[in-house]
């Protein structure tokens, strides 16, 4: 922060330049403050509300938990409510293996889907980056185009494709490639297909932007020096595209862990993911406190490893210097 502020202030100070300097310092600070305010209001405040509810107890009332903190009963009432908060809901989560299993299943499903999205997305991004500059905008447009249709409708469309009497099976049957319709809908395979399809643009776009910036003369140099194409890819292209790979994987992995719609529509009933567990607690059990606790833990499960990862990366970068 101080670096940016220092950079904003001019080095040569004259009396005439003082107002400009003040203005620049103010603008500089404002530029930093805005994202922090954004995070404060749209991330920290909602998180604190959810965290507070997770410490409450469920009740038949409006809203359906107790205590509700407000100042209508004076400051002492506020603190009386405060002392009634406890961590019982978190203890509850450890007593039933259901929650742990749901977290683990969600992480595994998200990890496999992310890997599959990477495998499918990399060649697409690579092809786009190597395409003639005149075609690239069209290709980019084609990647973004599906967003113009509702996400829900696109997932619904997959039901029509994957069901036993669906498009895919009919094509395969008429080509005599299979004799029995494949059962894909309502299985894990259908969930993976749904996630890979829905999140592919989030993988392709960051990959494309890092591959596009790459200097291809490096590959030519490698090949001139006798490196086979595959070797050149793993030694040069892939390491250089690593920031894109990491960004793409995070963009796919994080929402996939909490995914609710795709497993609900395409998956079978046996799929136990944390999104569904949270839905059950919130809507079926009407237990806002426990569902808030589930959400807080989910947030920790996702953010803590990512924070460590970023720290490690920053350290590696400094060592590199």
């Amino acid at each position: 922060m101080t670096n940016i502020a220092a950079a904003a202030s001019p080095s040569a100070e004259t009396a005439a330049a003082l107002p400009t300097r003040l203005a620049k310092g103010f603008v500089g600070r404002l530029v930093i403050i805005i994202p922090y305010l954004w995070l404060l209001f749209f991330f920290l405040v909602p998180f604190i509300i959810v965290f507070k509810i997770s410490l409450s107890q469920t009740a038949i009332s409006m809203p359906p938990y107790t205590p509700v903190l407000d100042f209508s009963e004076g400051v002492s009432g506020f603190f009386a409510g405060f002392s009634a908060l406890n961590f019982d809901n978190y203890t509850w989560l450890t007593q039933d293996a259901l929650y742990f299993n749901a977290y683990v299943t969600s992480l595994i499903i998200a990890a496999i889907s992310t890997l599959l999205t990477l495998i499918v997305g990399y060649p697409i991004a690579y092809g786009m980056a190597r395409a003639p500059a005149t075609v690239r905008p069209t290709l980019l447009m084609l990647v973004i185009l599906p967003f113009w249709t509702s996400f829900l409708i696109r997932v619904y469309a997959w039901i029509g494709i994957l069901k036993p009497e669906g498009l895919l099976n009919q094509v395969l049957l008429s080509l005599h490639l299979i004799s029995q319709p494949l059962v894909i809908l309502n299985t894990y395979t259908a969930i993976f297909i749904g996630i890979v399809y829905s999140y592919l643009p989030f993988m392709v776009l960051p990959l494309y932007s890092s591959l596009e910036k790459m200097d291809y003369s490096l590959i030519e140099a490698a090949q001139d020096l006798g490196c086979p194409p595959i070797g050149a890819f793993w030694k040069i292209t892939f390491p250089l595209s690593l920031p894109g790979v990491i960004a793409g994987c995070l963009l796919v992995f994080i929402p996939a862990v909490g995914e609710f719609v795709i497993p609900d529509l395409l998956g079978g009933s046996q799929t136990l993911m944390i999104g569904k567990t949270l839905w059950n607690e919130f809507f079926a059990n009407r237990d806002w406190p426990v569902s808030s606790a589930v959400a807080v833990i989910l947030l920790l499960v996702l953010t803590v490893p990512i924070m460590f990862f970023q720290q490690a990366q920053a350290r590696a970068q400094e060592q590199g210097k």
Binding site: T58, I60, S61, M62, P63, P64, D96, A97, L98, N101, K163, P164, E165, N186, D264, L265, G268, S269, Q270, T271, L272, T277, N280, F282, F283, A284, N285, R286, D287
Partner: protein, 365 residues
Amino acid sequence: MIRKALWLSATSAFLTLFTIGGHAEDRVVNVYNWSDYIDSSIIEDFTKKTGIKVVYDTFDSNEILETKLLAGGSGYDVVVPSANFLARQIQAGVFQKLDKSKLPNISNMWDVISDRTAKYDPGNEYSVNYMWGTVGLGYNVKKVQAALGTDKIDSWDVFFNPATLAKLKDCGVYVLDSPADIIPAALKYLGLDPNSTSPDDIAKAEEALLKVRPYVRKFHSSEYINALANGDICLAVGWSGDVFQARNRAQEAKQGVEIGYSVPKEGAQMWFDQMAIPADAQHVAEAHEFINYLMTPEVIAKSSNYVLYANGNKASQQFVDKALLEDTSVYPDEETTKKLYTVQPYDPKTQRVITRTWTKIVTGQ
């Protein structure tokens, strides 16, 4: 010049906002009802007759409605929860008592139904019935004929007997993802009290459901309408009106899919959708007028003829299509009606046991 034009348009937008604000004094009622649940001409007629503008919004699950109501400040004046949800919402203080003096049409209501809804809303102080129906078996007539050698299903046995259900596995079985509808049915089939909250009884229901679990393709509360209509599945344990919707869609599609619905002879659960006014409603007088209008015999009959559900209005029956009134799967005969049961809402502790049991049945965990 451009700046001036911008200013002009901004000012005019501002003025428009104000004029809209002025119109807000016109009489309005904000209604929140289930999707596909009314003949839209009824709303137009109501506005023509009373000058009250209806802002009509829809939901597709009780849980969504309940969450909005419990959070407070929903902005709705008339909502239509199912009775077992309504009972708990009354306890939570969500609704206001109806002013019966403003509801003269209440004399048209049917005691058979209002006696039962009084179990959820004592004295029917907070709500009046809109539509009611049963939880039963929807099936694809031809596919069931092919698999079981009979085209008539009349017993829970077809679902709870593993040997029978196994024959239907390949053509597809869907079940409501709703423990409050399926666990009581299992209890009833086992000859136990469908209202039982004893952990032993619930465990027995769990055992019965786990035996048939391998033959169920999916637990879902709305997908079965399309799946039945398209001929993708042959049996669904579902809500009567949804199955009738599937039947109509199948008829319209003319693909030769024929859908039947049966109220099992062992007895089936009744559900009731009740009109009520939230405590924080802004347009209470208009809400009463709207509810009263929907209790007009001709009006509610028109709605029944459109949505194909039975209503709780006795006087309306002379206006209900004969075919619908004589359809015993919609208006069950007296003997069947005696066997229909209602289920009380669960207390939070039992609810947790029920939900946990359900997760085990559905996911195997």
